[in-house]
Structures are given as structure tokens and as C-alpha cells.
Symmetry: C2
Subunit: 209 residues, 2 copies
Amino acid sequence: MRADAQRNAEKLRTAAAELFHERGLQAPLKEIARRAGVSHGTLYNLFGTREALIDEVVTDLAAARLGEVAEQALAHEDAWGGFAYYIETLCELQATDPAISDVVAGRYPDAERLMAVCERSHTAAARIIERAQQAGTLRPDFTHEDLLFIFGTNALVARAAKDTAPDAWRRGVAFMLDGLRSEAAHPLPTGPLTSRQLYQVMGNLTGTP
Amino acid sequence: MRADAQRNAEKLRTAAAELFHERGLQAPLKEIARRAGVSHGTLYNLFGTREALIDEVVTDLAAARLGEVAEQALAHEDAWGGFAYYIETLCELQATDPAISDVVAGRYPDAERLMAVCERSHTAAARIIERAQQAGTLRPDFTHEDLLFIFGTNALVARAAKDTAPDAWRRGVAFMLDGLRSEAAHPLPTGPLTSRQLYQVMGNLTGTP
DNA sequence: ATTCAACTTGACCCTGGGGTCAAGTTTCGT
DNA sequence: ACGAAACTTGACCCCAGGGTCAAGTTGAAT
């Protein structure tokens, strides 16, 4: 790769990181190129697809953030505390960083590294759920898919309320969390989604193709 | 108004009602005209704006549906039962009729008759909430705005899951409802939205201009 | 039957997103 | 310092949605 191309790629990575952070992973590619001071043709030359760019720009950040949250959640002595921490902190992360929000809620099958990160994050989440259920504080009919669903809706809520009431998501999450304790549980009307279904629904929810 | 214009208006109303029902109130106006077998220019001539069309086509249906649900909810002997019925039934309505879903979740300030219907619906909802709170079964920190917020998110969830898992919304609502009982309540992290804030957030949430 | 206002039409414009590629420019090895 | 390969550019194409309006058509009053 020629030196100038290297430089442009770097400028594009920077601009993309900024715009993804500000506006989420659907930020227009042309605008990213504009901010980088480069033609959009160059963006297509150097990265080819949006997902390739995402994979380069967002993956490491996401891995760090998600890993840290999961770790801290498992570090809680109290299983319910860890579970609640996990949900609250991830939702907070979604509210403050649209890019991360989209990673958690979206579908980017062609971003390989990113998918691996999600994979890891999912198994961590499963552990957090299981621990709280074994402690008897989290209702036993709650599933991993329900958790992701929560993040999916929170992504939208947080984005919609960002400028008007940046903390609006907290109330919804708090109500929800109160409904997830074992003591609060009443029988559910429907079984959980399959992961296949979840995948599709999350896609529609966040407008990921 | 000339007879042919009358006929066209009728065809357009019918087509609009169908498409709004199938796809929600953002259905492309050109497609409505196409389905009516009429030029889109005619649609603009006869109705002017999307909201005018909505107001003519959706208001009566919405009034009937919303009115009935509220009435039945208040007819419940049990205040909590009435509250839960109201939420569940309205959410179900959202899941089965995208047009109603958008009415409940959206913003259409220029559709005067529709706004009046919403107004009425809101005061009914307030009564349902208050009754359940006075009975001591609904947590006292729950507000009208929280309720509308629930409908706002449910609109998105129901739409996203429609084709994949038409009942997916039920689980989320059930968790939520379990969190709204007085026994489940833990202190909330934030105060409620003002109605002004809610208005803006709902607008962003549903993409209503 | 004529006439003219009322109405309809579809070509046209705009916006904003995605994407391509021939022609021009720059880097780098020799 | 030169030439080939690598790279960049921006004009161009696509699509889908909103919206306008001059020209043509039709209804109905006289």
C-alpha cells in the first residue's frame, strides 16, 4: 500500500470513528469521506464496504468496552447486583455512544472481527444471567434473547431521547429491571424468541440490512 | 366539488386506509395514489398533505378502537386488571394495526380531529392509571408519560417483529407489567419526562417530522 | 351544444442515500 | 529523472421519496 493511501485510510478511519460515535453506524459514507477531506470514491477504494470500515474502526473499542462491563458485572459479589449492573451499564453505554449502541443492537455479519467480539460478549452475558438465576434473584424464565431484545429497544430509546432527555432510558430500564426479579414474576404469555428470530427482529428494529 | 373528484377522493381514501393499515402512516403517498388508480398529483390536489389524508381516513377508526379499549379497561372491577388490560390490549392493537400503532405513538399536530381523539384517549388513560394507583396495585411513581413511552417503544417492537414473531411484543410487555406492580417497585433513578419532552422524544422515536 | 371552471395527468424538480469508473495525479523503484 | 503502477477524483448512475405545475380533459350550467 502506497504511503498516500495509508494516510488517507488513516484519515478515513479517524473521521469514521468520529461520525460513528456521534451518529451511529449508519452515518452516510459520503459524509465520512467529506470529513476526512477525501473523495468518497477513495473510501470505496480503500474499504469497499461499510461493514469493512466498521470492522476496522469500531471493533477494538467495542471489545474493550463490552469486555470491561462484563468483567465488572461478574466481579460483583451479589449475582443480582452484577446482572443489574450489566444491564444498566450497557444501556448507559448505548446512550452515550451510538456506535457501541449499534454494535450491541445491530447486525453486521460481514464484519468478522466484530462478530467474534459479539460472540464473546454473548457468552459473558449468558454467564451473568445464569449466575443470577442460580442465585434465585433473576426470574428463571428470562433468556439471553430477552436480554438482547432489551438492548435492541434501548438503542432506539436512547437515540431518540439523546438531545431532549439524555436520561430518559433509565426509567424504562428501571421498570423493566423491577419486572425481572424473581419476586415480581408472573407467568409469561409467550415463549422466548429463537436466536434465528431474534436475529431477524433485531435487524428490522435497527434497520440493519 | 365535482362528481369525478368526489369519486377519486373516495378511491384515495379507500386505498389510503388499506395501505395505512398494512404499512403504517408513513406509507408513500405515491403508492397510495397508484393503488387508487389515480395520479399522485390528484392526491395532492384533493388532500394537500399527508396529515389531512390521515385525519380523514384514520380518525374515526382510531376513535372507535381507542374508546372501546379504554371503556372496557374502566369496566374491569379490578383496577389492576383494568390497567393491565388497557396496556395489553392497546399493545395488541398496535401489533395488528400499524395505522393505529402510529396514532398511539406518533405526532400529527396538523390532523386536528385526530389530535382531539388523542386528547380524549389521554384523559381516559390518566383515569385508568389513577384508579390503579389509588387501589394500591400500580406503583405510585408511574406516570402518564411512562405509559405513552411504553406505547412508543411497543410500536417499534411490534412492527419489527410482525413477520417473524408476531407475539414477540407480549414478552416485553409482560416483563414491564411485572415491574409496574407496587410490590415490585424499587426507587427510580430519574424523574418522569415532561409532556413537552415526551412529545419530542416520541417524534424522534417514530420518525414523525 | 357550448363553454369554462374544475379537475387530472405525468413529466419534471429536489433531496439524500448508495455505488462505479474513466481520466488525471502521485508515488516509488530503477 | 523517468515510467509504470497505484491511487484519487468527481462526474456520473441508480433508487425512492416528497412535491409542483403547464397542458390536457371532463363535468355540468346555461
